[in-house]
Amino acid sequence: MNDTKSIILAGVGGQGAILVSKVLTRGLVDAGYDVKMSEVHGMAQRGGSVSTQVRFGTKVWSPIVGRGGADIMVAFEKMEAIRYCEFLRPDGIAVINDYEILPMTVACGAAVYPDGTIEDMKKHFRTVVIDAASIASSLGSIRCMNIVLFGAMVKSLSLDSIDWTAVLKETLAPKILDMNLLAFKAGLEASCDK
C-alpha cells in the first residue's frame, strides 16, 4: 500500500540542490502526487555540506527518512556521496557527480581528500556516474551542472513521462532556460549510456 518514493540530494552549499528540489517537487505536484520535501537552512549555507530530501506517493507522512530509507541519492559532489550513502537503501541507486570540491580542512592542509570514493560507491550500490562539470561547461556554464544531474536522476527514477520541459520553463529565469533545457537532455542521455 505504501508506494512512497524517497530521494536524497546531497551536495555543497551553493551547488544548486535547492533549485533542483524546486523543479522536482513542482513537477511531482503537477503530476498529482502527494509530495513532502525537507531542507535545512542556516549555517549549512556557508560552504558546508547540505542535504535535501524529497518524498512522493499517494500519501506521504514523514518528510524525511533515516538511514537505509532512500530509493535514490543524487550526490552533487563525490565525497558527499560517501557521507550520505548510509541514507540509501542497500538496493538503491546512487547518481554521482564525478566532481570534487575541497573542504577548507583539505585546502589548508589539515586533512586529505579521500581517494576511491566512486569506486567504493560502485562496490556497494547501483551507481550512475556523471561528469556533469564537463557536460555543463560544454553547454556554456558549469553552473548548469545541477540540471544535468537532475536529468540523470529523472531517468534513473523512471520519471521521464512527466513533461519536465514545461516545468523547467515555469521554474527557471528566461535567460538561463535554453542552456538548462540542453543540460536536462544531456543528463537524461548521459544516464542512458551507463
Binding site: 505504501n2 555543497v12 552549499g13 517537487t25 505536484v29 502527494d34 509530495v35 513532502k36 520535501m37 525537507s38 531542507e39 535545512v40 537552512h41 542556516g42 549555517m43 549549512a44 549555507q45 556557508r46 560552504g47 558546508g48 555540506s49 507522512w61 514523514s62 518528510p63 524525511i64 527518512v65 533515516g66 538511514r67 537505509g68 530509507g69 565525497m79 558527499e80 560517501i82 557521507r83 550513502c85 548510509e86 541514507f87 540509501l88 537503501r89 542497500p90 575541497l102 573542504p103 577548507m104 580542512t105 583539505v106 585546502a107 589548508c108 592542509g109 589539515a110 586533512a111 586529505v112 579521500p114 581517494d115 576511491g116 570514493t117 567504493d120 560507491m121 562496490k123 556497494h124 558549469i142
Partner: protein, 584 residues
C-alpha cells in the same frame, strides 16, 4: 489548487487569513521565513523586524492592548529573551487576539542548545498549539487566534525545524478581517502592580481550566483508532514519523493543542488500548504530565530526549527493528561552514589571531565562524549580545588576579549590538573594565539570511528608515575614542587594535564593511591570482582561512570561481606572490 509550502510560509499565510493586524519579530533560524513571507501581505497588515524578541513581544502586546490582533515570532532561544513580558502578559490577558511563535531546533542545526519550549507554555501558563505539517501550520495559526480571542490569553504556536523547513501541500482560504475596538484605559487589567497581579492570577487559573475543557473537546486533539493493542500519544513532527512507522497497526491520539493537555481525552484513549506509548521529540512534556495524572504509559525509556527523531529511529527504538543500510569504507572529510570568500570579518579575526595573549569573547552570527581553524580567534560565544558582557566578567577576573598581560576583546555584530549588545557596552563603561568592544558592522543581519536592522537604513517592508549610527551611540555612552576601520585593510586593522589598547580614554572599534552578499549594494569586483614563480609555498595565505585558496601541485592556487578580490591573502603573502587583477 494546493500549494507546496514550507511550514513557515504556511504559518505566514495562516496569520494573514486569520486577519492579523500587527506583526513584530526578530529573525532567527528556523523561524525567519515566517516574516519574510508575511511581508507579501503588507497591504493588509503591518509587519516589522524588532531589534530583539523582547521588544517584538512587547510591541505585539501593546498592539493587543490597543485592540488589534497581533503576532510575534522568534526562534526557541529568542523566547528566553522575550520571556519577561510574556509571563506577565499571560496574567493580564489580551485585548486583541495575540499569538507568539516559537520555532524550536531539535538537533541544533543552527542553534546553541535544543531547549524544548513547550515547557514555556506550562511555566508561563499560556495555551499552546503544535502543528505537524504545513496545512496544520496554516490551520492551527488561525485556530490559535481563535483560542486567544475566545479566552483572552496569548497563545503560543510551537514548531520545530523539521516542521518549519519541510514543504507539504496547503489549501488556501480567504482572509477574515478582524475589527479593532476603540481603546479605553483599563488600568486594573493592564497595569501589573502587585495588587492587580494578585487579582489577575486566579483569573488566569480559571481561564486555563476552561481551556482544558476546550482542549478535551477540540478537534485539534484527535483520535485515530485502528488497533486496540497499541495506542500512540504524539504531537508535532513525531506524529508523522509515528504514522510512517506504525501505519494502521496502532491507534493514535494526535495532540495539536498540547497545553493545557486534554487529560480526559487522553485517559479515555488510554482505556481503549492495551499499551500506551508516548512518542515526542526532546523532553517528556506529554509523558510526565500523563504519569502525574496517573495514566500508565511509556516512551522516553525507549526514545530518549536527545536530538531529532526520524522514522528510522522511532522504528529502531520502539520496535527494535534495525534499519538495513551500508556505510562506506572510505571516510568523508568534514565540511564545516567557513567565512565566505571576501567576508569582511576575515581581516578582523586574522589580526586578532596573531597574538596569544588576546582573549576574544564572541557572539552569535556569521562571525562565530572566526572560532574555526585556521583563524581560531575566539574564547567564548554564549548568546545574542553576550559578547561584550561576558568579556567584562572575564576582564574583571584578570584584573583581580593580576593577569595583566591578557587583553580582552568583546565582539558583537551590528544587528547583535542593537539586539542586546548595547547594554554590555554600558556595563563595560559603567563598571570600568578594560574590555575593547568591537562591533563588526557588515550592514546586515547575515547568518539568518540578510534581514534589515536598525543600522541598515531600511525596514522589513523595504521602506527607508532612520539609520542608527553605532559610533554616535557609543560616543553618547562615553566611549571617547571610537575607531572606525575597514577590516579588510590589515595594516589599518592592526593599527586600530594597537590604538584602542593604548588609548588613555575608553575606546571601541567599529569594523565597517558591508557583507558581499548584500544585493542592493554595488560591490567592487575583482579577483586575485597567484604568480606561481614568486610563490614559495610558505602557506601564509592559508592562515586567513579562505575557501578560495588551496595548495595545488605544490603552489598556492586561487579558485577564480570563488575569489572576490578582497586581497586579504595578498596582504599576508611575504613574497608579493598574490596580485589583484583590476576586473574581469
Amino acid at each position: 489548487m494546493k500549494n507546496l509550502l514550507s511550514g513557515n510560509e504556511a504559518a505566514a499565510r495562516g496569520a494573514y487569513e486569520a486577519g492579523v493586524k500587527f506583526c513584530s519579530a526578530y529573525p532567527g533560524t528556523p523561524s525567519t521565513e515566517i516574516f519574510e513571507n508575511l511581508v507579501q501581505y503588507k497591504d493588509s497588515l503591518y509587519c516589522e523586524w524588532a531589534p530583539n524578541e523582547k521588544v517584538a513581544v512587547e510591541s505585539a502586546y501593546g498592539a493587543s492592548i490597543a485592540g488589534a490582533s497581533s503576532l510575534a515570532a522568534m526562534k526557541h532561544v529568542g523566547m528566553n529573551v522575550a520571556a519577561d513580558p510574556m509571563f506577565t502578559a499571560a496574567y493580564m490577558g489580551t485585548g486583541g487576539a495575540m499569538v507568539i511563535v516559537t520555532a524550536d531546533d531539535p538537533s541544533m542545526h543552527s542553534s546553541q542548545n535544543e531547549q524544548d519550549n513547550r515547557n514555556y507554555a506550562r511555566a508561563a501558563k499560556i495555551p499552546m498549539v503544535e502543528p505537524s505539517d504545513s496545512q496544520e501550520c496554516k490551520d492551527f495559526m488561525i485556530e490559535a487566534f481563535r483560542i486567544s480571542a475566545r479566552f483572552g490569553v496569548p497563545v503560543i504556536f510551537r514548531t520545530t525545524t523539521r516542521v518549519c523547513h519541510s514543504k507539504s501541500l496547503v489549501q488556501f482560504g480567504e482572509r477574515m478581517e478582524s475589527s479593532v475596538a476603540e481603546y479605553h484605559r483599563n488600568a486594573s487589567k493592564f497595569v501589573c502592580t502587585p495588587a492587580n497581579a494578585h487579582r489577575n492570577h486566579p483569573i488566569l487559573e480559571k481561564k486555563l481550566s476552561e481551556i482544558e475543557q476546550y482542549s478535551n473537546a477540540s478537534e485539534l486533539n484527535r483520535e485515530e483508532i485502528y488497533s486496540t493493542k497499541v495506542g500512540i500519544v504524539t504531537s508535532s513532527i513525531a506524529y508523522e514519523y509515528s504514522r510512517e512507522v506504525f501505519g494502521e497497526d496502532a491507534s493514535y491520539l494526535k495532540i495539536g493543542l498540547s497545553f493545557p493537555l486534554p487529560m480526559e481525552k487522553i485517559r479515555s484513549f488510554a482505556s481503549k488500548v492495551d499499551r500506551v506509548i508516548v512518542i515526542e521529540e526532546l523532553e517528556p512534556f506529554i509523558e510526565d504530565q500523563m504519569k502525574a495524572a496517573g495514566i500508565k504509559c511509556e516512551g522516553k525509556n525507549m526514545i530518549g530526549n536527545l536530538y531529532e527523531l526520524n522514522p528510522e529511529l522511532v522504528s529502531e527504538r520502539v520496535l527494535g527493528r534495525k534499519a538495513s543500510f551500508v556505510t562506506s569504507d572510505v571516510t568523508a572529510v568534514g565540511r564545516p561552514p567557513a567565512l565566505c570568500p571576501g567576508c569582511p570579518h576575515r581581516g578582523f579575526f586574522y589580526v586578532l589571531s596573531k597574538k596569544s595573549d588576546y582573549v576574544i569573547c564572541g557572539d552569535i552570527g556569521c562571525y562565530t565562524l572566526g572560532s574555526a581553524p585556521p583563524l581560531g580567534a575566539m574564547d567564548s560565544c554564549v548568546c545574542m549580545g553576550g559578547g561584550l558582557s561576558v568579556a567584562h566578567g572575564m576582564a574583571k577576573v584578570f584584573e583581580m588576579t593580576a593577569q595583566t598581560g591578557k587583553k580582552v576583546f568583546g565582539v558583537v555584530g551590528d544587528s547583535t549590538f542593537f539586539h542586546s549588545g548595547m547594554t554590555g557596552a554600558v556595563e563595560i563603561l559603567y563598571n570600568k573594565s578594560s574590555v575593547i568592544p568591537c562591533i563588526l558592522d557588515n550592514r546586515i543581519t547575515g547568518m539568518t539570511g540578510h534581514q534589515d536592522n536598525p543600522g541598515t537604513g531600511f525596514d522589513l517592508e523595504g521602506n527607508p528608515s532612520p539609520m542608527i549610527d553605532i559610533a554616535k551611540v557609543l560616543q553618547a555612552y562615553g566611549y571617547e575614542n571610537v575607531i572606525e576601520v575597514d577590516p579588510q585593510d590589515l595594516k589599518a586593522m592592526s593599527k586600530a587594535v594597537d590604538d584602542a589598547l593604548s588609548s588613555k580614554v575608553p575606546a571601541a572599534i567599529i569594523c565597517k564593511r558591508p557583507c558581499l552578499l548584500i544585493k542592493r549594494i554595488k560591490h567592487e569586483k575583482g579577483m586575485c591570482i597567484v604568480n606561481a614563480g614568486k610563490c614559495r609555498t610558505c602557506r601564509s595565505c592559508l592562515k586567513v582561512g579562505c575557501p578560495a585558496i588551496a595548495i595545488v601541485d605544490g603552489k598556492a592556487k586561487i579558485d577564480s570561481s570563488l575569489c572576490t578580490g578582497c586581497t586579504v591573502c595578498a596582504q599576508v603573502c611575504p613574497f608579493g606572490a598574490i596580485e589583484k587583477e583590476a576586473s574581469r
